[in-house]
Each structure stands twice: as C-alpha cells, then as structure tokens.
Amino acid sequence: MDARLRRVNKEISDCKNDKSSNISIDLVDNSPFHLIGEFDGPEGTPYEGGHFKVDIIIPESYPFQPVKMKFITKVYHPNVSSASGAICLDILKDAWSPVLTLKSTLISLQSLLCSPEPRDPQDAEVAKHYMTSKSSFEETARYWTQAYAGGSGKEVRGKGRADGPRDEIAMAGLERAHVEKFQAMGFDRTKVIDVLRRLNYRGANVAQINDDKVVDELIKS
C-alpha cells in the first residue's frame, strides 16, 4: 500500500479510537487526503465554549512536507487571518517534522488559541488590537466565538445576543459611541467602522488619533 495512504488511514483510525482528546478528524468526500478537523475552544480563553473546524489538505509528499491547514470557523486571533482562516504557525512551515501527526498538529492549533503570538502575526489588524488593549481584544474574540463558533457568550457584556443580526461594531471590536460620533458627521456607518478598525481606534490609541485624521481617512476611503 502507498505509504502516505497507510499513514493517513492509521492516523484517522487512531484518532477515532482515542476518545480522551476531544479532537476529531473526518473525511470531506471519499478522499482521505481532504479532511476536516474539529476541536473545542480551550477553557479559560475567549474561545471557550466554541467549536472550531479546520480544513485539512494532505499534500502529495506528506508526511515529509507539512500538512496544509486553515480555519473554516471564523476566529478572532492575531495568528489567524480574520478573512481567510490562514494560520501562522511554525510547525505548518519550516518547523514541521515528519513525526508530527494530524492530531498533534490540531492540538498545537488548540494551544495556539491559548497563547497568541502577536509579534509574529497573520492578521496585523487583530494583532494591533491585541497589543493595544487585551481586554477589548478578548471581548471581541469572545463575541466572534459566540457569533461563529456557537459559543454561549454569557460573558459578553452589554453587546446583546449574537443570535439576531450580528453587531458590526462589536464584530470590529469598536465602541458604539465612537462609531456614532463620526456617523453623526454624516459618514456612512460601514465606512466609519472600516476606517476606525484600520486605524485601531481602541483603548489608549483613541487619545492619540485626532478627529481630523479620522475624517481625512473617511474622505479618502
């Protein structure tokens, strides 16, 4: 049998037999080389209560070249692209070793959720948010978990339930009052959210960015 196929089959069945890890790996179609991995958000993090899905592609030269993974579930995290789900993690690149497995890699992703590395970001805007105000970042991450990963969201204060229409302001990690202030000047709400997010208009930064700068950006955009 093809060594790659044997190895992947063994990995999938090992994972099925191990009930203790709460990591699951399933086939997407009939090919064992395109899989979906799933795990729960780690406890004590903004991702707690969420359930995360990861797209897994097994390359031709697996396990000698790293597996390709990206989040299917939207995640608000400095090392995960908020748009595409692409992940910045060393073992998915040059630190890959053929002894690593799909399961161990998914566990590493789970650990990544516990310990963001904003100095080596995949999503620069999210990383900036994290660096500026960790509490505000966590609130947004929690909101995303609730909105996209099925999290209970009981800790999200004053943002309303995310079951209804999603709150764009909470989604962008901004303050409602800030958005409304520029909206009142006659700018489009979506535009305001976009610009404030790009400028990282949060926490201590708000005092650093004067209104003219924001208006300038709003006119340009």
Binding site: A3, R6, R7, K10, S20, S21, N22, I23, P42, E43, S61, P63, F64, Q65, L89, D90, I91, A95, S97, P98, V99, L100, T101, K103, S104, I107, S108, Q110, S111, L112, C114, S115, E117
Partner: protein, 563 residues
C-alpha cells in the same frame, strides 16, 4: 588571513579573497586541460586580453568541489575532526574559515551544536559504528535552541505526552514499527548519532523531498525537536540507490559554497552546473569602470554579467547604467509597446509593410520606395555623411517651455532611444532565425559552387557577427540616453553611427539572394565586411571602456559610483 580587520565580527559572509584566489589558480590550470580545446575562451593560445574584457576563470562542478574539499580538509586538519564534521561547520558559518576558527577557539561546543553535529543537553552516549563526529561537546547548555510554539505554556488535555511517546521507536514483539509510516515490514532502519531510528524508505522520501522540492542541503533529523543535521556520509547512505538525488544534493552543496564566495558566480543558464571565478570584479568601484562579462565553460552561449543580474552581454554599458535603462524600459513599457510591432505603413503609399529579416533597409513592394525601418526616412540619405538616424535632435527638448511640451519632448526623446534599442533587439531575433536559412544557403552553395564546407562558413560567421554587434548597438542606445550632451557624446555617437551603418550593410549582404555566378564575389564582399564590422565593434567597445576608465563620460542623471 590578515586583512580582515576592517570587517565586523558579525559579518560571516566575508571571505579572505587573497587566499581564495590562490586556490582558484591551482585548480584553474587543472581544469583547462579537461576543457574542450575548441573553446577559444580557454585556449592557451588565446590572444591578449582586450581592454573591454575581464580576467576570469570557468570552473566545472568538479573544480568547485575541489575548492570546497580543500577548505574542508584544512579545517579538518587544524581542528582534528572528521571531514563530514568540518563540512557541516563550514556550511553553517557560510564557508568563512577565519570566522569559524575564531568561534571554534572561543567555544567549540557551541559551534558543534549550532552546526547540528551534537545536541544540546544530550551528546551521543557512545560512538556509532565507525562514524562518530569528534565530540568533546558533552553537557553544554549553550547554543541556539529551536524556538517552537509547540511548547505552549499549557497544552490542553493529554495529547502532548502521546506525541513524545512516539519519539522512542515503538517495539512490539521485538518488531520495529517505523514511527512515520507505521510499516512493520520494513527491515532496514537508519539513524544518526541521536539514535532516532526510522525506516530507510522514510529517510529516503524525506531527504528526496528536502533536496528536490525545497532545494535544501541542510537536512535535520526527522524527529521532533532534534537538531542534528545529516552529514554527507549519512545522506550518501540514504541515497545509495538514488543517484539522481545524490547528484542534486552535491550540486546544492556547490551552489551553497559558490553563493558564499564573492569571487564566484554560478552560471545562470538553466541546468548549467558551471561556475565562473572573477576575483577582479568583486569590488563595487571596479564596476563603475569595467563591465565584467564572462562565459562559462559549458557553452559559448552562456554569457552573463558577473557584476549584475543581466544574463547577457551588456557591453559597453556599465552595470549601474544598464540597470537604470532596463528599469526605464520596464516602467515605460506600455508607451513604447507599439514600437515593437512588426508592421508599419509605407510613408509614401500607406500600404502595409511587414519586416521579416534583420535588415533595416526596406523597400515598399508596391511603390518601391526605399526607406529606413527605424526613422522611416529615405534610405538614400543613410549612406551619406549627414546620416543622422542614430542621433537625437535635442533641440526640441531644449526649446520646450511649458510643462506639457516638456513632457512631450521628454517622451519623444526616450522613444528615440527606445525605438532604436528595441529595433536592434528585434533585428537580432530575426537574425537568429536567419541561422536556419543560412544553413540552407550554405548547403546550396556547396552544390552550386566549387566551395568546400569550410569555405561556405563565412555566412555563419557573418550572422554571428551581426548578432554580436546588434547587442552592442542596443546597449549604446541605453547609454546614449543617459549621456550628457557635448563633445564626448558626439564622438560616442560617431562611433555608434559607423558601427550601425556597417552592420546594416552586412545585414543586407547576407540577406541578399545568392546567384551562383557571383558567389565568389559575394564571399569576398561578405568576408571583408565582416572583418570591417568586427573592427568597428571593437572600436565602440574599446573607446567606451577607455572612457569609463578615464572617467570621460558625463551623465545627465546621477549614476552609482559617479559622484
């Protein structure tokens, strides 16, 4: 090993030039004997170097391997370590012997660990079958550790320990199960001194993927967090039955070595494995006065510049100006695209004329108007002394008053030079196509005349010369664009004009139909013209090169090395 005081400690790229040059000379003489005697570049009877040529040496992969081996032997003997160990250390430090000696004296253990020869905290407990890296490096804690986010502060659940269990080969009923492919039928296993054992076919697949897919010769152990790097003997063992990958691995080592040496450059032509050594062109200052065009020993067509990334002959223009011109052409490619078209309208009768040869002397099929493809002016004037096809009339740009006419004039000025540059380039391409036609002509000539094969070679020589000179002409336009107006530029353009006229005449001659009656006369004419063209080309190359050396050229823009 004396002149490196001015280099900082951190500069591991630095390499002692003087010593390296000696090495190259040693091997150079050996390599010449192996080379094709027809290759005139390495012909010992080759005439003296011209002013527009640089001194260089072509090295085969074998020659470079000898240089590498000499360095490895040197380190191996003074450190008292095995060749493979010395090789890894040199590769780690980018082949800077002096730097390596210094670091090794300072802390041998740290060097051994960083080079992937021994592991931190865990030096090999016992010698491994005949091949053990000399290691006095026990129990040291210095040296870089692979940082990894895998070592998360709190790995959730029980997964982590399970991964680590895998690192010890699982042995069930005394049978080895490879921890990578889970195959229990594999009988042959391999490991380095770290004793991380895997089956041979996994090692092979791993090394093959590193070498072939990643072009990587620095190959660490497959085990997680093991920092040992595979020495050559190990790779050789893994690739025993895969000669192609082993060859590629050795080529990668040579490339790494060449990349670390400022006086060596790998031939940029696809799948060529030759290297050129050009010690004189290492310094930046020499590049403001010489154009180090070299040819590798594999083929006379493998011509490239040692000083920049242009993979062809850009003489007589120095690298900095060539680079500016190419950038300008790239930036303005859209404006100038129309020039490249192969068809134009006759300026007399407006019928469409297609260019299908290299010659710029066009005759309209319909009205028989003879004109110049480049300037569309009447051809009759081109043979006379007031021929001005190559020179741009700067008056328009000087007279321009307002911004709009200034910008129009500057575009016009650029197009003048670009037009001629592009035209010679295109003619060159068409001349290459002419080769096939020429071969046929030569065969015909053999049949219709009493000329022998050798005697009909004059056609091929003429085509070669035309192609070569069009390359020179192309670049003279790139240069003239940046030359400050004045006497020097005018003299430059006189030489350019004379060469251009001669080339066009030769071009026309070799494209003319062959009449058996006059073949002998034609042969004489072509041969004479070829010699003349050759002379004109040398005059352009020589005078421009001299101008660079005398700092005679003045530029209308700032040029690197000319402040």
């Amino acid at each position: 090993m004396s002149s490196n005081d001015e280099y900082s400690d951190e500069d591991i790229e630095y390499y002692d030039e003087d010593e390296d040059m000696e090495d190259i000379d040693d091997v150079g003489s050996a390599s010449e004997m192996e080379l094709d005697p027809l290759n005139d570049l390495n012909d010992p009877t080759r005439p003296q170097r011209k002013i527009f040529e640089v001194e260089y040496e072509s090295l085969s992969q074998n020659d470079v391997e000898k240089l590498m081996r000499a360095d490895i032997e040197y380190i191996s003997s003074i450190f008292g370590v095995e060749m493979d160990t010395a090789s890894l250390m040199l590769r780690w430090i980018n082949w800077n012997k002096e730097k390596l000696i210094e670091k090794y004296m300072d802390n041998a253990n740290a060097v051994l660990m960083a080079s992937g020869i021994t592991q931190a905290d865990k030096a090999p407990e016992r010698a491994h079958a005949g091949r053990s890296p000399s290691s006095s490096a026990h129990q040291s804690s210095i040296g870089p550790r692979r940082s990894s986010r895998r070592i998360a502060p709190e790995p959730p659940k029980s997964g982590k320990t399970k991964i680590l269990e895998r690192l010890t080969p699982p042995i069930e009923d005394g049978k080895f199960i490879c921890p990578i492919c889970f195959d229990d039928t594999q009988t042959e296993t391999l490991n380095m001194t770290c004793f991380h054992k895997f089956c041979k076919s996994c090692w092979h697949a791993y090394v093959e993927s590193k070498v072939r897919t990643e072009a990587e010769s620095w190959i660490s152990c497959m085990a997680e967090d093991c920092s040992l790097v595979a020495p050559d003997y190990f790779i050789e063992g893994v690739l025993k039955e895969d000669k192609a990958t082993w060859d590629r691995f050795q080529e990668l080592l040579v490339r790494h070595f060449v990349g670390a040496m400022p006086n060596l450059k790998y031939c940029p032509y696809p799948s060529c494995t030759y290297t050129v050594s050009c010690p004189v062109s290492v310094s930046k200052t020499s590049l403001s006065s010489t154009v180090p065009i070299v040819t590798c020993g594999a083929s006379a067509a493998h011509k490239f510049c040692f000083g920049c990334h242009v993979d062809s002959d850009h003489r007589p223009v120095i690298c900095a100006v060539a680079k500016m011109w190419l950038q300008k052409c790239r930036d303005d490619s859209e404006t100038a695209n129309w020039i490249k078209s192969n068809t134009k309208e006759c300026s007399k009768c407006q019928s469409t004329i297609e260019k299908n040869g290299g010659c710029n002397h066009m005759t309209c099929k319909k009205c028989k108007y003879e004109f110049c493809w480049v300037c569309m002016g009447p051809w009759s004037e081109h043979g006379t002394s007031w021929y001005n096809c190559n020179r741009y009339d700067e008056k328009a740009s000087v007279d321009a008053r307002d911004a709009q006419s200034r910008s129009r004039a500057s575009l016009e000025r650029y197009l003048h030079y670009y037009n001629r540059w592009a035209n010679h380039e295109q003619s060159k391409k068409l001349s290459v196509e002419l080769y096939a036609k020429t071969e046929k002509k030569m065969e015909e000539m053999q049949i219709t005349s009493e000329l022998s094969w050798i005697e009909v070679q004059f056609m091929k020589k003429a085509v070669d010369e035309v192609i070569k000179c069009r390359t020179t002409l192309m670049w003279t336009y790139g240069m003239a664009y940046y030359l400050e107006r004045g006497n020097e530029k005018e003299l430059f353009e006189d030489n350019q004009r004379d060469l251009e006229r001669a080339v066009e005449e030769l071009s026309e001659l070799i494209e003319s139909p062959i009449d058996p009656e006059v073949i002998k006369t034609l042969r004489q004419k072509v041969t004479d013209k070829t010699v003349y063209v050759q002379k004109r080309n040398e005059i352009v190359l020589e005078d421009t090169a001299k101008g660079f050396m005398d700092r005679r050229w003045k530029w209308n823009v700032p040029v690197e090395g000319y402040d």
